[in-house]
């Protein structure tokens, strides 16, 4: 027995020794190859790190650079073939001028690589990616382009950091103007329709995809990447890594817009107040069910009523008279998108279907074979139907009863971060971009606990009484790079490079940490966010959940977002002022929308309105427009249960 054990032990030892020596030989051999490549690359003027035989990020970057310069496959790996190639082609040696430029580049990117941490790309991948931008932009050094984007944190960061980095790396100067979203819509429309060269690129909401695919006045990026722009398309772009590239695609899957930042509308609430035992008890005593995340508007309304005027305490010790609701009502383009960004959808105006209801979508537009045929109930639409009137009625009622009185004078961007001041219990739909505001994260804020963790959470928005399973659950959109048709040649190439730079894997995770608007899967699934998800109140869980796909934008069926959205806020503003009733406001809106649709000049899928019929004809049919229905029982769910659903 002992002998057998001894024999077994000797065989194992022999094997171990063999493996060790063979392994060492292998390492030594690979080390020599790497050292030879490092040496040859250095002689040829490339930066491949110290000649130590160790394959590290600098060596990989040097190999990638050589492979790219010489048209070889870019795998960044040392090989005998590579070594032979370098030795056989002395003409690939870099000129002294090129060496100097490279030295500058390496100095520059070290600084930027430190700024772009953490990153979903490893450092070597970042170097390779940035190096590609540096090389491809050589013909454009010294040129200037202009772009425009709306005033949210993400874009300020792009202006203040990324534009400088882009200039250091590519030599292209970018004037990235930050303007209001309404101005973005107006200016891009002006440029598309008059042919003026105002900006070379816009970060324009993918809500306009229905307009772009019908007008044919933006660059078809899919075609551009295949043809004219092939050499300016980054090998590292990887559209498959984007969360929702489909937002920017036409009916045939062509990419017309590239997501730059995206944000969902979610329910926001004070988790600490909702889990406070005396508060829970008081709620249950009054309403007869558990205080929790409201699943429908009936429960939301109860919770709003319950908290409004109630004395509540914040983690910083401040005591406030709470509001049960937060909203805004200043007449402006943003009041329009308060509604077109799916308020009607969560009320349940549209039909079943993803990404948008079919045949009737959440704008109340009936669409048949991609052709819009009407908004009024008489034409088969739902914009002046019972569900839409209910949506406006609840908006007005809650704004009046449960929101801070000054909310009527706020625009979208003013209301955005207000929940962070510590006197709001819940918000039916919160644009998550505003959760990047310091007040939601900074120690000492009324909505941050003593342990430094937020005391707020996000969850799906509650739904109105016309909503049913199978409909889109909520709204999210992607501010997306859009290049107008009249940007041509080298300007188009530079604009495309700038767009890719702002959306590169190198910068995206850091951009999310600044602005809270993720676009890439590699960002939301990154280990850094796994470790820090507690800072985001459920947002990371949301973006990792397959349910995220049920939050969609306006979609391709809205035929002309700029012209139609303007009509919305004018009519809603009249209802806020009390000049018209909710029914009158929605009737006027629907009729005006139909008139406008009939006047649109579009290259394809232009509206052709249905002949009007009696309202009862349409209201008796299945789906939207839906007839009056009663308010259901209020329903809530515990947050823990909800998060479990997202995690599964």
């Amino acid at each position: 027995m002992r002998k057998r054990m001894l024999l077994k032990g000797s065989v194992f030892l022999l094997l171990l020794i063999s493996v060790f020596f063979l392994g060492t030989w292998g390492v030594a051999s690979a080390g020599k190859l790497t050292a030879d490549i490092q040496s040859e690359l250095t002689k040829a003027g490339y930066s491949a790190g110290p000649i130590d035989g160790i394959y590290g990020p600098m060596t990989k970057a040097g190999i990638v650079e050589y492979q790219m310069n010489t048209g070889m496959d870019c795998n960044g790996l040392p090989s005998q073939n590579l070594l032979k190639h370098i030795r056989a082609h002395p003409e690939n040696k870099l000129s002294p001028e090129k060496k100097r430029e490279k030295a500058d580049f390496v100095r520059n990117i070290q600084k930027w690589l430190d700024i772009f941490q953490p990153s979903a790309a490893r450092r070597v991948e970042q170097i390779s990616e940035l190096h590609w931008f540096h090389e491809v932009s050589e013909p454009f050094r010294g040129a200037t382009i202009k772009s425009a984007a709306e005033h949210i944190k993400t874009h300020y960061w792009e202006r203040d950091q990324l534009a400088k980095a882009f200039e250091d790396i590519t030599g292209i100067h970018v004037e990235h103007d930050i303007i209001g979203e309404g101005e973005v819509v107006r200016t891009i429309t002006d440029q598309m329709m008059t042919g003026r060269v105002i900006y070379d690129a816009y970060v324009n909401d993918a809500d306009l995809i229905g307009t772009h695919l019908r007008l044919n006045k933006v660059v078809n990026l899919s075609e551009y990447m295949e043809n004219e722009g092939k050499s300016y398309t980054s090998p590292y772009l990887n559209l498959g890594d984007f969360l929702n590239p489909e937002f920017g695609q036409d009916y045939d899957g062509n990419q017309l817009q590239l997501p730059d930042q995206q944000f969902a509308n979610l329910y926001w609430f004070r988790y600490d107040w909702f889990t406070d035992e005396p508060t829970k008890k008081a709620f249950k005593e009054k309403y007869g069910y558990e205080l929790g995340v409201p699943l429908n508007w009936a429960a939301y309304e109860d919770i709003a009523e319950f908290f409004t005027g109630r004395e509540m305490k914040n983690p910083d010790g401040s005591v406030v008279q709470a509001y049960g609701h937060l909203d805004y009502g200043e007449p402006s383009p943003s009041l329009g998108w308060r509604f077109t960004d799916a308020w009607l959808s969560i009320a349940g105006v549209g039909d079943h279907g993803l990404p948008n209801g079919l045949p009737v979508d959440e704008w109340g537009i009936r669409v048949v074979d991609k052709i819009p045929v009407g908004s009024t109930v008489e034409r088969g639409g739902a914009l002046d139907g019972p569900a839409a009137v209910y949506a406006l009625t609840k908006y007005l009622e809650w704004l009046e009863k449960y929101a801070p009185p000054e909310a009527k004078q706020w625009e979208w961007h003013e209301a955005g971060p207000k929940a962070g001041r510590g006197d709001v219990a819940q918000r039916a739909f919160q644009y998550i971009t505003w959760l990047s505001d310091d007040s939601f994260h900074q120690a000492g804020s009324p909505v941050v606990g003593k342990d430094g963790k937020p005391v707020w959470r996000v969850a799906p928005s509650p739904h109105g009484r016309y909503w049913e399973e199978g409909m889109k659950v909520g709204y999210q959109d992607a501010g997306s790079w859009t290049i107008p048709w009249n940007i041509r040649g080298e300007r188009r190439a530079m604009a495309w490079l700038w767009a890719q730079f702002c959306t590169s894997r190198t910068v995206c995770l850091k951009k999310f940490l600044v602005g809270g608007t993720p676009i890439r899967k590699s960002t939301v699934f990154n280990y850094y966010l796994s470790e820090n998800s507690y800072k985001y109140g459920g947002l990371i869980e949301f973006y990792r959940s397959p349910a995220e796909k049920k939050w969609t934008d306006s979609g391709p069926n809205v035929p002309h977002y700029p012209a139609l959205s303007g009509i919305w806020w004018e009519n809603i503003a009249r209802a806020i002022k009390g000049e018209v009733s909710p029914q009158e406001a929605m009737t006027n809106l629907a009729q005006q929308q139909d008139v406008m649709m009939s006047k649109l000049r579009l290259e394809k899928f232009a509206p052709r309105l249905n002949e009007p019929r009696k309202r009862s004809y349409w209201l008796k049919r299945e789906g939207a427009p839906k007839p009056e229905r009663p308010e259901p029982e209020p329903k809530t769910i515990s947050y823990t249960e909800l998060i479990t659903q997202w995690n599964n």
Binding site: T194, G195, R196, P333, N486, R491, E570, L600, R601
Partner: protein
């Protein structure tokens, strides 16, 4: 009766605008300059025409618009046959004929404009020339439609300028002679490119040659008082700043 008369007199004194709300007669270039100005069934149409029409209507004026040849428009204004021209860029040689809005001679992008229009350089498809902003490098001949105010600028730059009455003629000559360039708007060029005769036979350079403000300019001989002219220009400014109106207007072209 006496009371009514007094009321009427007061009304006329109180509302001078009502007193001047006579019919205003304007002319516009008849050439196809879509979407800004063009003629359809002998009626002036286009974005610029619509803005002016709405401004005058809002101010209570009746309006007659006649499309005709650009040179004839200027002659007619010189003679006082029309109150003004819709859509014309500032031209100092017309100072004695037309009354432009304040500081039109200085402004690149005037607040008083109806709209701003970019003029682009178009060359034959295989011409290797690249326009980078230097006007003097433009390849000769430079083809442009009659009476564009930038013609003087081109001539002063020593360029060989060929003027025709329609853009189409310019494109025909460009494609036939395979030399020189055409100056026109992006939209005119793109529309030409849709025609088989011209398709893929020319290229539009990325950098605009010039961006100009186009105005409603009044005839110096018009009987409209200067205060009324100013009101009309102010109304145009107001309309151009009307977010919803402009988006609806753009959508219809």
């Amino acid at each position: 009766m006496k009371r009514s008369l007094i009321f009427l007199i007061l009304l006329l004194i109180g509302f001078p605008q009502a007193a001047v709300s006579e019919t205003i007669k304007l002319c516009v270039d008849e050439r196809n300059w879509y979407p800004f100005t063009f003629a359809e069934n002998n009626t002036g149409k286009g974005m610029h025409v619509e803005i002016v029409k709405k401004a005058l209507k809002d101010l209570g004026h009746d309006l007659i618009i006649e499309p005709q040849h650009r040179n004839r428009n200027i002659l007619a204004c010189r003679q006082g046959d029309f109150d003004g021209i819709i859509s014309i860029a500032y031209d100092d040689s017309l100072e004695s004929v037309l009354d432009f809005p304040p500081a039109a001679e200085k402004e690149t992008e005037s607040p008083w404009r109806i709209m701003q229009v970019d003029h682009m350089v178009i060359t034959y498809i295989y011409d290797k020339y690249a326009f980078k902003g230097d006007i003097q490098t433009l390849p000769n001949p430079v083809r442009i439609t009659f009476a564009e105010s930038i013609t003087n600028m081109l001539k002063e730059a020593g360029l060989e300028v060929e003027e025709t009455s329609r853009d189409r003629q310019n494109f025909e000559m460009l494609v036939r002679d395979e030399n020189g360039c055409v100056i026109t708007t992006s939209i005119v060029a793109e529309n030409m490119n849709k025609e088989p005769k011209f398709k893929n036979k020319f290229k539009i350079h990325p950098t605009p040659l010039i961006s100009q403000s186009y105005y409603l300019a009044f005839s110096e001989k018009s009987s409209l008082p200067s205060t009324e002219k100013l009101k009309i220009w102010e109304k145009i400014v107001e309309l151009r700043g009307d977010y919803v109106y402009m988006l609806k207007l753009f959508a219809q072209y």
